[in-house]
Subunit: 352 residues, 4 copies
Amino acid sequence: MTKQVHYSDYLQLDKILNAQALESDLLQQHAHDEMLFIVIHQAYELWFKQLLFEIDSIAGIMQNPVNDNSPELQTVVHRLNRMVTILKVLVHQIDIMETMTPMDFLDFRDMLRPASGFQSWQFKLVEAKLGLKYQHRHGQEYYVSQLRQEQIDVIRKVESEKSFIELLNAWLERMPFFEETDNWINFRATTTTPALAEWDGGHSPFWTDYRNIYSTGLAEAEQNNLQFFDSVFSDAAGTEGRHLSPRASRAALFIMLYRGYPILQLPFQLLNSLLEIDEQLSTWRYRHMNMVHRMIGTRIGTGGSTGRDYLKGALDKHYIFVEIARLTSFLIERRKLPVLSPEMEKRLGFVS
Amino acid sequence: MTKQVHYSDYLQLDKILNAQALESDLLQQHAHDEMLFIVIHQAYELWFKQLLFEIDSIAGIMQNPVNDNSPELQTVVHRLNRMVTILKVLVHQIDIMETMTPMDFLDFRDMLRPASGFQSWQFKLVEAKLGLKYQHRHGQEYYVSQLRQEQIDVIRKVESEKSFIELLNAWLERMPFFEETDNWINFRATTTTPALAEWDGGHSPFWTDYRNIYSTGLAEAEQNNLQFFDSVFSDAAGTEGRHLSPRASRAALFIMLYRGYPILQLPFQLLNSLLEIDEQLSTWRYRHMNMVHRMIGTRIGTGGSTGRDYLKGALDKHYIFVEIARLTSFLIERRKLPVLSPEMEKRLGFVS
Amino acid sequence: MTKQVHYSDYLQLDKILNAQALESDLLQQHAHDEMLFIVIHQAYELWFKQLLFEIDSIAGIMQNPVNDNSPELQTVVHRLNRMVTILKVLVHQIDIMETMTPMDFLDFRDMLRPASGFQSWQFKLVEAKLGLKYQHRHGQEYYVSQLRQEQIDVIRKVESEKSFIELLNAWLERMPFFEETDNWINFRATTTTPALAEWDGGHSPFWTDYRNIYSTGLAEAEQNNLQFFDSVFSDAAGTEGRHLSPRASRAALFIMLYRGYPILQLPFQLLNSLLEIDEQLSTWRYRHMNMVHRMIGTRIGTGGSTGRDYLKGALDKHYIFVEIARLTSFLIERRKLPVLSPEMEKRLGFVS
Amino acid sequence: MTKQVHYSDYLQLDKILNAQALESDLLQQHAHDEMLFIVIHQAYELWFKQLLFEIDSIAGIMQNPVNDNSPELQTVVHRLNRMVTILKVLVHQIDIMETMTPMDFLDFRDMLRPASGFQSWQFKLVEAKLGLKYQHRHGQEYYVSQLRQEQIDVIRKVESEKSFIELLNAWLERMPFFEETDNWINFRATTTTPALAEWDGGHSPFWTDYRNIYSTGLAEAEQNNLQFFDSVFSDAAGTEGRHLSPRASRAALFIMLYRGYPILQLPFQLLNSLLEIDEQLSTWRYRHMNMVHRMIGTRIGTGGSTGRDYLKGALDKHYIFVEIARLTSFLIERRKLPVLSPEMEKRLGFVS
């Protein structure tokens, strides 16, 4: 190759390193910590761009039928894990912000109005692409009032497209195993009753069997877990307000239960990395909330909100993969698991 | 010295390394991950012991009148910062626990009943010694039902003694400065009205002046911050349910405002490290809560509680130093600060 | 279950929390920081015990022929990753030690002679079980002089048994693929010469082909990389001082190159986690070395060594999986990779 | 304020988020991981800019005579600690880079030649501003050959100006205490001999006294530590190749020894934060070196160097504050410290 690439050109450092203009300098009231404030937000936005880039690539792969152990699935898991690693650094980065004391922030805070971290449309895009819809957002009106129209348009467009969790649902629904045949478990006649056999529309004795074992293991105080179980897995359950269909939920639980089989190893890693992403996002919001509280107390933020309250509201509502997380409630001990038939074991990649 | 110390004896490794007996081995159903479960809890308890040791040493120092820039105060700050460093590792350590999957936990979970992390009386002691009283605890009855009588007795005894935050209050109240004289600021006649002069019982024109500046800077939507201001700093305010008196609160705010003066540097570091401790404790509870949710979902914990709900309840209620954190709400810009008189500057250690 | 398990009994906290006896208290010269010194070393030893427990379980699995995508291999990878997570916390834990200043250490340092962190036989066991032999240790004589005979015996016994890296070598050698047939790649006649076909004893045209591509891609200044290549992969190469045979090395490189194929996904994760373990161990030694330097400078340690020099010597010599790490030198661009035949693709688990 | 500041304008996100052009896209061989490669380097450069900004502000303060407990000194310590916090995140950020596997890097590596991380002139500026001179750099010629002339000029200019460590030396030399009077310690006649009194040119009996105590405490094997002691503290010692004069070194040691006195508290924190900075820089280089080794093995880097060798060479040579670190070698136990006279105690801010 004859072209000579130079580090500073390649990284376009003339742009990157000349994008810091302090408002406090414009107003001739230089506030030292404003540089930190700008740089850290720019670093966050760079990483948000990277997160979006990874999500788009993953969604691109998931849009096509993905074989459960194809190289593409490995790529999906790898990139989700990269997102987790990035999010951990973003959480750590709050330590840097916290070296700014409230008094130091006050030196330039008023000069920034009405700018606010709330206006990071890239972060909202991350949430939207993963699966957060407008109607589930905390503080919807505020959200519309703060962003520019073109930014709202971009987010709305993303909200109207297939999100990652919808692609995930489709992928889980495609898993063939347990719906198609009656004979893939070693029937345990004692635990299956005709009544239960009706439970999921007669598709699979596995789930009626499983429901029975689960039900037996519940403590007295846990009885409404069984109703919850039915509402998640039964085909009679409505789909209102949920991302994962009963069928997809059954597939996900099956993956968790039998994750040791070759064909389920990557799918299990995939589900696990989604929980990690939610957890890191959640930790980020929580530490962010604490930081805002420490910085401005009960004062109103530069964007006009009581910053802490907004973040607190989002804490619970913005979990994307909560439906996967709660499947944990439905696990049973490994030694009580229905034993799969040799035929099924073979299909799951186990070669004796 | 003639005595020969050996590493293994010195660390009593025969005790430490022979204190892991797996219930699943006793029941001849070896569950590999139970070792991790034991070891990580033991590591936590070791560190809790260290935290208690540091708190006791700090309280010992604070029980005596502490000069504001004595070596002892430096020691207090140093040890509080060490506690922060330890807490950060404890938060990080949750990563290790999360390498245990819910299915792996199920292999031995039932064997542990009714043991529960809730029974860590050392952690409760940490909270109590810092300042959390029984009546402010989330889930008081549960707490009594779970611990052994001798453990409850220990905690109750600590609750009846002077906690760290009470020692802190006394120390802040001892700060002499602003109560004793009318003349230590450069009076800004324009901002002080007779009405305001009455505000803190006539002790100090500084605070009436300060209140005026603060009030002027409040946005329209923030007007109830002024009532809040009065409820925190005015001597007319009751003391019901609070740890810091108006006098101590004024001293703490003064420290934040004028932290640059030599005599206030260590006091400022001290207040800051307390906020760090609360934040790390809070992050620990939050990640802990998420981990429990991921591990058992909505099932009932081994101790009989819905673990996640308990932890969630504690999140807000167990902040110890919230009264310091909220002082941030009352800061004003540095350039608007009342200018101190040369006499006062000298007392604060500033040598021109 | 009728047995009632209690947290404090289960964790044997009476042992764990009563194993801290300060030498400085015995000598009636209480040194506050000695408690930290004891507790942190005990925490380290607890985690070393856990690391040993994981290594033993992994070695137990690897001793049997492990199918390349069996549940057992997944377990191996999972536990290696857990070890990485633990090691990261151990590195972080050095932050706590560093809250002890040199002057604070001096308060009790002389009382500990000749105890020394060097006497942690558990850490030496970790190294030995992974694959470090006596003759490759830095400072062998010192090592013998410091430990007790029974501890030396334990380590020597482990050194004489199959270490993890030897089990790894056997596992890699068992991989069947490329040795058995001439026809599993799409022959690229242009790049293969008869001379090269001789290269690995005629077993496989793949490697002669690969060597040719690799050789072509080397810059002029890199020509001795080719000799290095031959010394690693050619059967003519001696086995003196190496853990991985040419055959095993070829298998490992193949895994790195074609990691996308289903059957190679877990093996790739396994190799990767070994590099992580070495890297974390190395970072631990490095930060440890810096800490010792900061603590005692060029003085001689309590055990009689110049602590820093020992640790520095160990830095390079104690890499266990260096032979895997250096395989990176032999990678070629993905687009230049020999294309596998459909038959081979099928064997690697790819279903078209 | 009537001006309306918007988040995206304020952060100039149009520049920041449009500065990623993939070489692999230009060559129509899209390599997914190149985006990560660009973004992470840009994030590093943003933080290097922030580090430079902090160093400049600190140097600006130190250029003026700084009172030992003035607000300015507190600002210096605060900003040095911020630098430590930033460096910790930069070290952590390597985790993200390590999610790129060697094969993924190969997909675009050749397209970047001869660009190289070595061309980060900002990082070289950080080193230069702290105190690293051209003649102490590892690989000087390489350094000149890689950078652009204007970048070399900038670094050379900085090298010719007063670096931070030179300002530190001057500040330490300004400390008045022990040079001026014979009477500020409680003379311990038994330990002082006339011969020793000559040691530092007769300026101060303190140091002759101290040298005697130190010498007595040395083990037999440590005798050349005494020569080292003399070479560091004696005025007869040459100044060739050193940053800190004997006088400044004495002041720094005195600060470490008597750090508890009010006036020495901030100076002690300052010295400590410098050691932290060196340690984080060193950990960064070490992990960086390991990462490069893992990524390209023994191949030659895009910039033409064997990347790992360069970084390894820099490891030892680029410590900036090594002269402060090694003072640890000269500490003595607190209980053996010369007792200061009441007059001196008063000057150090201790009010009885």
